[in-house]
């Protein structure tokens, strides 16, 4: 039940009950952060994106139908927020200043992954999102389809095209790896 919007909880959250909102969205915060980090490659930007997405979710509670799966609903909002962030002015500054800088220390695999990260950044948003959801968050194709609101076949195709575009970097990883 924790992942599903129950009518009573939605009503309570709409009335300003913070606990009810926490019960609805709280369990999805951690995967939301991983999604945002996978998309933005920056811890602070990811936290900001999750916070903003939570706010948008709160504002959109009126549109939420009881029984809606919370996880895909909220992750879709996070994905949209990441898209906005990537288009935003601050992120461009951030990206320039942190280009190629691993966020989690300088372990060799991470340092070597700089080219691959850069290549992932250059993917189209839809491909990048499908790739991150499937390979980084380990979600099934059906779950990715629910979040991206696209048919499973389209999701498969996006992931395939993304992998093809990343192939040079993936193969280079193989040489070093």
């Amino acid at each position: 039940m924790a992942d599903v919007a129950a009518a009573e909880l939605v009503d309570q959250a709409k009335a300003g009950d913070r606990g009810a909102f926490d019960a609805l969205v709280g369990p999805v915060i951690d995967p939301a952060f991983r999604l945002a980090f996978g998309m933005l490659h920056d811890r602070e930007a990811a936290e900001d994106a999750v916070q903003e997405a939570a706010f948008r979710a709160w504002r959109s509670l009126g549109n939420l139908r009881p029984g809606t799966e919370m996880r895909p609903w909220f992750l879709a909002i996070v994905a949209n927020q990441c898209r906005s962030t990537l288009r935003g002015r601050w992120h461009k500054v951030l990206k320039l200043s942190g280009l190629g800088t691993p966020s989690q220390g300088v372990e060799d695999p991470v340092v070597r992954g700089a080219d691959l990260r850069r290549a992932i950044r250059q993917l189209k948003h839809d491909q990048r999102l499908a790739l991150v959801l499937h390979f980084y968050l380990d979600l099934s194709l059906e779950e990715v389809a629910a979040i991206t609101r696209a048919p499973v076949g389209t999701v498969k195709s996006r992931i395939h095209r993304a992998v093809v575009r990343l192939r040079p970097q993936l193969e280079a990883e193989e040489v070093f790896g």
Binding site: I29, E52, A54, R89, V93, S103, P109
Partner: protein, 445 residues
Amino acid sequence: MTTPDDEQARRKIRGALGVAEPEPGLRSRVITSMPIDLGFGGSRRQWAAGGVAIVPALAVVASLVVARHGGTSPQSASELKVVGTLNMTTQVGFRCTLPVVGYLTQARISFPDGGVAVDRTLDPAQVKPFAFTYAGGRWLPVPPPWVSPDGRAYAYTTTTSGVPGKQATSAVFVHDVATGKARELWSGDNSGQVLGWGPGGVYFNRQGSSQPGPIGSELWVVDPANPAGAHRVGPNPPQSQASDPAVQPTYKTFVRIAGGAAWAVTFGKPAAPSPTYVAAPGTIDRMDLRDGSVSTWYTAPDGVSVSMVGADAQGHPVLFLNAFPKGMGPSAASSGTVSTPYLPPPPEVLLLTGPNQTHTIASGSDSAFRPSLVLTDSHGMWFSSPGSLWLYRNGELTKVADVPAELFPTPTPPPGAAGKGNLAPGSPAPGFPVGVTLSLAGACT
């Protein structure tokens, strides 16, 4: 079905992106940051007023604002009303609420939307503290540096300096926010002024009189847990001699505690009023709070006055450099006592990162950026300029929003007080940006 190729791609992509475990407190922070208590409500209809329309504020403020008196108690949800929005010029990309004061209006601005929720309007008939801080859900009648790091107390000084027939004395108090009770920590001769909190407790300036030579203030510290141990810090006041024979001994005073140091500014004192007076170079000195060692970090060029208005998250001073024309001291330039209309250039804003090492935040070329206040938080450095808010973040200064004047109404001076008080803004020089300069009352959280 997962293929070996998929598995290999998954492994490499995860390796390249690294581990991303959220901080344990993220969920709590996200949930508690929802502006549920700000009365924005969950309905889209109510929010629309904040997102699009600028409500004619005078009427709305009059009808919606709940005026409170003597209030340091936390605000309840029902008392806050959104009266309009700033005109956002940049999408900030984060969520927080910034407490501000504009004239007599205490308000909180929510970002990224710029919604302005008014806490209360102060009574112009009552004495208004010169600064406020919003901390722990309360408005406190002191500037942010006087509030303890945990927000549970604030320090202040009282003095008899300037009282006719009284010898100058001063006392340092600490006020417990929860109980509302103040406790005297220290008292002594001469005037004093709280600077802020640091590793040793409450640091305060005390007008020095014990030493001959250059005048200046002494830095003292008192630990609220051990008030009896109050003592002077370091071999101060730092000694300095005027290099310009036209200038009398300099006056050095501490202005801020930041980054484990006390920061002092030197002012030149003219030998006598003179139309050719040129101020002595202003300097910024750093006194290490651990060993009391003093070093000069910055000396302003001729014709420029320097002031320290804040510090970044690492404690590096933020400096405003104001140029003034030859033949006019900085005080004359700012007070408008010259006969011809004078439009001062915008200040140059520097970050002082080391001795003689500066980083330019603003070059002074943007006539719209005339900041007078700065506040640092986790998002960057906020600057308040007439009619606008700015943010320095990731090495870039950007105007975040224009502040519609109607959201912070200019108070009407009481009868008979016209032209005497400073409640309403004076007439700026032609070309000077107009609008309210918001006081920044705390971190954007």
